[in-house]
Symmetry: C2
Subunit: 207 residues, 2 copies
DNA sequence: GGCTAGAACTTACTCCCAGTAAGTTACGTC
DNA sequence: GACGTAACTTACTGGGAGTAAGTTCTAGCC
């Protein structure tokens, strides 16, 4: 009786199924958060049984991390491109922020997943998460080094402090914007943030 | 057979029991995180049955929030005191940061609980969490207004952006420091952060 | 076409933990 | 001593993560 209309849900090869599962998971995690999503939900959405997902992704954390890694990769690429394309160091700062906030505006469900990473502060998943974040910090640190005048040899601690600060600031701003009724546009946020930081980076103390 | 040594675990009045439960919960949440802690664990630690905790705190989130609120209150008071005691606006910024990082050094398990708040991004607990955070943002916003020159009427969006940025930066720095093998001392972090932000706040763009 | 190997997939569980209903015991008060 | 109530417990339900063991489709060979 599955003859007439509905696609009979044939078997598919592993790669295709994995992709299908990943897309469903991204959507559902994005809508309901990590806690609010059960593996049965995802399985039902894909039209597949739960153990299959376990076979492919190992655990709920594994599935979530797969979503996370993909989205974070996209975001990182977007921001890195914008930074690299900028003409000056000052412009790179603004362009990076702008790309960040625009991406999150355009992929709201992606951001929900990314924010939920706090969920994984315990467990083996935390390491993988930190790796991806470290890539961001590194990008920011590179920008910071571009901004700090050459005659001033900032020590590594200071670079780290600044990079961590910027990472934290952009993350919280992103969260704030999604929760805000009518948040200021990406351009304004990027501009304000750049104004706040540029002077400090530029005229970094020479003690 | 409970006669000789062990205290027979008499009944206690509600207030005392609540305090006892809260202290145990803070410790265990701090050690194992939200996910890693079960209500049975807490109950066993206190030497009491699980339903009693439910009677007093309503839910696991409720218990966690009670820990959170208390710790956050302490932290907020500490920072606010330092800010208010400062002689100048510039000094207030540094003093506030310093108080923040010092408190977290001195109460490491407290910070584990505070960081885990990300855990509560879903559910009714999120609102209560946001309220406490809002108090911080408000404190920072006040400081920001102190720092922005009077002739420059910064609009509310800009104040918010700056306050959110600072809040995010300090939170991420705190997380980074706890995970770092040998993090720079509070004084250095506070100093660097102040250097980064002071110029930007001070010479805020006049467009 | 028929046969077979292995990949894709499912049924039917277990265990753990948040949360609860209903009952029991200690303690202050008259 | 008896009564009322607050402190507390036993013994459960429900739901979701994770799994053992089995079943069906399909590609590739003869």
């Amino acid at each position: 009786m599955t003859s007439t209309t509905a696609a009979p849900k044939r078997r598919r090869d592993r790669a295709a199924r994995e992709r299908e599962i990943l897309e469903a998971a991204e959507r559902i995690f994005g809508e309901r958060g990590y806690q609010g999503t059960s593996m049965d939900d995802v399985a039902a959405q894909v039209g597949v049984s739960k153990p299959l997902i376990y076979q492919y992704y190992g655990s709920k954390d594994g599935l979530f991390l797969a979503c996370l890694a993909r989205l974070r990769g996209q975001l990182l690429d977007t921001v890195a491109d914008a930074v690299m394309a900028a003409a000056s160091a000052e412009d790179a700062l603004y362009a990076g922020f702008l790309a960040w906030f625009r991406f999150l505006d355009e992929h709201p469900q992606a951001w929900s997943v990314l924010v939920d990473e706090g969920m994984l502060s315990a467990g083996p998943a935390a390491e993988a998460t930190d790796e991806v974040r470290a890539a961001f910090i590194e990008l920011i640190a590179t920008m910071v080094r571009m901004n700090v005048p050459a005659d001033r040899a900032a020590d590594d601690d200071e670079i780290q402090i600044v990079a961590q600060s910027i990472s934290g600031a952009t993350e919280r701003l992103a969260i704030w914007r999604t929760r805000s009724a009518n948040p200021p546009p990406p351009e304004k946020v990027a501009r304000t943030l750049q104004d706040l930081l540029w002077q400090g980076l530029h005229t970094f103390k020479t003690s």
